[in-house]
Symmetry: C2
Subunit: 355 residues, 2 copies
C-alpha cells in the first residue's frame, strides 16, 4: 500500500490526556483539529493549549479519533460512523470489544481501531503533550471488513503524531497487550502486595531487582482494573498458563529438582532476550559500569559530561538508591567493548567507577 | 555496643568476585589481607590486582571471611574455626543452612554470618572492585550463641568495606531475601518465560513496564537455581501465598469483580510504597519529566547539564528505547514541586519535554 497523506480536518472526541496530545501533535504538523467532549471545560482547556478549535455543527471531519473512556467507546464509534462519512478510529487499550459491538453495522468498513502504547501517570487535557507519542509503538488493528483506505488514513494519523505503526488484528492485539502489559502488571502487583505484608526491617534488604519488578504496580488500581476487565479472556488464558508454570516452580523447589528449576529460569532468560532491542535492532552486547555519585545537584551532569568527554555513548541509566548514605550508585549501560575505556576515563577524572 | 575497630590481618577464603572485592576494599583502608583459594590461579590474579597477599602457613588471621560457593560454605566455616582462633564470617546468600550445619560445635560463638546485597553479572577475581559494597545493604546475622565481640568485628568489616550493616537473625534474613529477592526473581522469570512463547510481532508492543518486570530474569539460571534451592523453605512459604493471591486474581477477573480486582491492585500500590526510599528516608512525592533525546554521544550530557543549570536535582533516570527510531525517551524523576520548573527550563533550552 502506498503511504496515504493524512486528510483534514480531524475531529478528536474526548479532550483528555490522549485526545489533547493527539490534537497538539496534529496542530504541530499543520493539520486542522476539531475538538469535542462532554465537558465543555475540557474543550476550552485543550483548545487554549493549542490542541484545536471546538467543533461546530457544520464541520465535516475527514477522520474522527474517539478518545473516550472504555465504557463509552462502542457507542461513540457508532455515532461517529452515523453522523459523518469520515474514517473513524479509537485509541482504547483493548480492541476486540469495540469491533464485536459494531460488527454488522453497514458503515463498519470506515472503522479501524488503534492503540498508542503511551500514557502518563497524570490525566486530563493539562497533561497533554505533542511529544507523547514520539517514537512509541502505536498498534493499528484492522478487522476483516476494514476499508484499506481507512487503514491508510489511520496509519497516516500515527505517523503524523510521531508514533511507530504496528499492524495486528484486534484479537492478536488483545493477546499481545495481555502478555506484554496486563499480565506483567497483575504479577507485579502480586509481588508488591507481598511486600506490603513484610516486616519493615526485611525491606531494608531491597535492592534494584525488586524495585524494577514492582515499579509498574504503583499504577492507578481503578484504571488498571478497568483495562484488565475489558481484556478478561486474553488475560485469563495467560494467567492460567502462569498458574501452571508457578505450580511447576513450586514442585521443582519442593523436591529440590535443580535441573527443572534451572530449565524454568532458562526460559526466563530466553524471554528477556526476545524483547526487541533498542530501535527494533537486535540487542548488542552491553556491559554495566557502576559509578558512585554524591547526591547533590550537578553531580549527574558532571558525570555525563565526563562520560561524553571519554567518547562513550550511554545506552541506558539506572540509579540504585542506597538505604543509608547520601551517595547513589549509578549504572551506566554501554556497549560491551567500550566499558573498560569508560571506567579508565572516569578514573582519570576522579570518579569511583567499575565494571 | 561501642564500635569495634577492624582487627587484622583478615583472611579471605575464595578469591572470586566477592572475596576479591572485599580484599580490595580492605587494602584500600590499609588492612592487611591474606588470600586463599583452591585455585592458585585465582589467588595470583587477586593478589596481582592488589587484593592482598597469598596466605602463608604461619599467618595468624584475626578475622576469616569465607567467600566460597554455597555447597562448600559449612565445611569451610568449620575448618576455619578449627584451624584458627579468629572470628569467622561468610558472605553466602542464605544464612540458616550454615548455622544449622555448625550448631553444637564448641567454637560456634566465633562465627557470625553476613550477606552483602551486592553483586555483578560477571564473576571471578577480575570482576572484583573495591567499590562493590559502597552504600549497599550488608546483612549481619548473629545466631543465639554468637560472641558479641565477633558481631562487632563483622560489623567493622562491613563498615570498612563501605557497606551499610543491617542486623537480622539468620531465619529472618532468609525470609527477607526470599521476599525481596528470590521470589521476585522467580516471578520475573515466569513472566519472561511467557514472552519467549509469544509471537514476535506481539513483543513489538513491549513498553518500559514489561522490561522492568523482567529485567532480573536475565540472571544466570545455575546460580539462581542454587540460591533458591538453598532457601527452599522460605521461598516455598511465599510461593504458596503467591499462588493463593494468583487464584484470587483469576477468580476476580473471571467473574468481572472489579472491586476485588481493584483491592488486589491497591495492595500492590501499598507494597511499592513500603520499599524504603532514597537513603532510607520516607519517599518524597516525585514527578516524572519526559524528554526526547537524540541517540548520539553527548546528548545525555547536554540534557543533564541543562537540568543542572535549571537547578533541579534528578532523583532517578529511566531511558525508554523506542522500537523504530533513533530518539530515546528519557524519564527524569524529580521532586513533584520542581517538575514544572524543569519542563519550563528545558523548553527554554530547546528540549522537547513534558510532565
Amino acid at each position: 500500500m502506498t503511504e496515504v497523506r493524512l486528510p483534514g480536518p480531524v475531529e478528536v472526541i474526548g479532550a483528555g490526556l490522549l485526545g489533547t496530545s493527539i490534537g497538539l501533535a496534529l496542530r504541530a504538523a499543520g493539520v486542522e483539529v476539531l475538538l469535542s467532549d462532554v465537558s465543555s471545560e475540557h474543550v476550552r482547556t485543550a483548545s487554549g493549549l493549542g490542541a484545536g478549535r471546538p467543533r461546530a455543527p457544520e464541520d465535516r471531519p475527514a477522520l474522527v479519533v474517539v478518545a473516550v473512556p472504555p465504557d463509552h467507546l462502542a457507542t461513540t464509534i457508532v455515532r461517529s460512523l452515523e453522523l459523518t462519512d469520515a474514517v473513524v478510529t479509537d485509541v482504547g487499550s483493548v480492541k476486540s470489544g469495540p469491533v464485536a459491538a459494531i460488527a454488522g453495522h453497514p458503515e463498519v468498513g470506515r472503522y479501524v481501531g488503534s492503540h498508542p502504547m503511551a500514557g502518563s501517570e497524570r490525566s486530563g487535557p493539562l497533561a497533554g503533550s505533542a511529544a507523547l507519542f514520539e517514537g512509541r509503538p502505536w498498534a493499528i488493528t484492522p478487522h476483516d471488513t476494514s476499508d484499506p483506505r481507512a487503514v491508510g488514513v489511520v496509519e497516516a494519523l500515527v505517523r503524523t503524531c510521531g508514533g511507530v505503526p504496528i499492524r495486528l488484528s484486534p484479537a492478536e492485539h488483545d493477546k499481545a497487550v495481555a502478555r506484554v502489559s496486563h499480565v506483567p502488571h497483575l504479577v507485579s502487583a502480586l509481588v508488591a502486595g507481598r511486600l506490603a505484608a513484610a516486616p519493615p526491617d526485611h525491606l531494608l534488604l531491597s535492592g534494584q531487582g525488586v524495585r524494577d519488578v514492582t515499579r509498574v504496580a504503583a499504577g492507578d488500581p481503578a484504571l488498571y482494573g478497568q483495562i484488565v476487565d475489558a481484556n478478561a479472556p486474553a488475560v485469563l488464558e495467560l494467567l492460567a498458563e502462569g498458574r501452571e508454570q508457578l505450580d511447576a516452580v513450586i514442585a521443582a523447589v519442593g523436591r529440590a529438582d535443580r535441573a527443572d528449576l534451572e530449565a524454568l529460569l532458562a526460559q526466563g532468560v530466553a524471554g528477556t532476550r526476545a524483547i526487541p532491542g533498542k530501535h527494533g535492532a537486535p540487542e548488542r552486547p552491553v556491559a554495566i559500569v557502576y559509578v558512585s555519585v554524591p547526591d547533590h545537584p550537578g553531580e549527574l551532569a558532571r558525570l555525563f559530561a565526563d562520560a561524553s568527554a571519554v567518547g562513550v555513548n550511554i545506552e541506558d541509566v539506572h540509579i540504585d538508591h542506597d538505604p543509608g548514605r547520601p551517595v547513589g550508585l549509578v549504572q551506566l549501560v554501554v556497549a560491551e567493548d567500550r566499558a573498560d575505556a569508560l571506567v579508565d576515563g572516569l578514573h582519570e577524572r576522579g570518579w569511583t567507577a567499575r565494571v
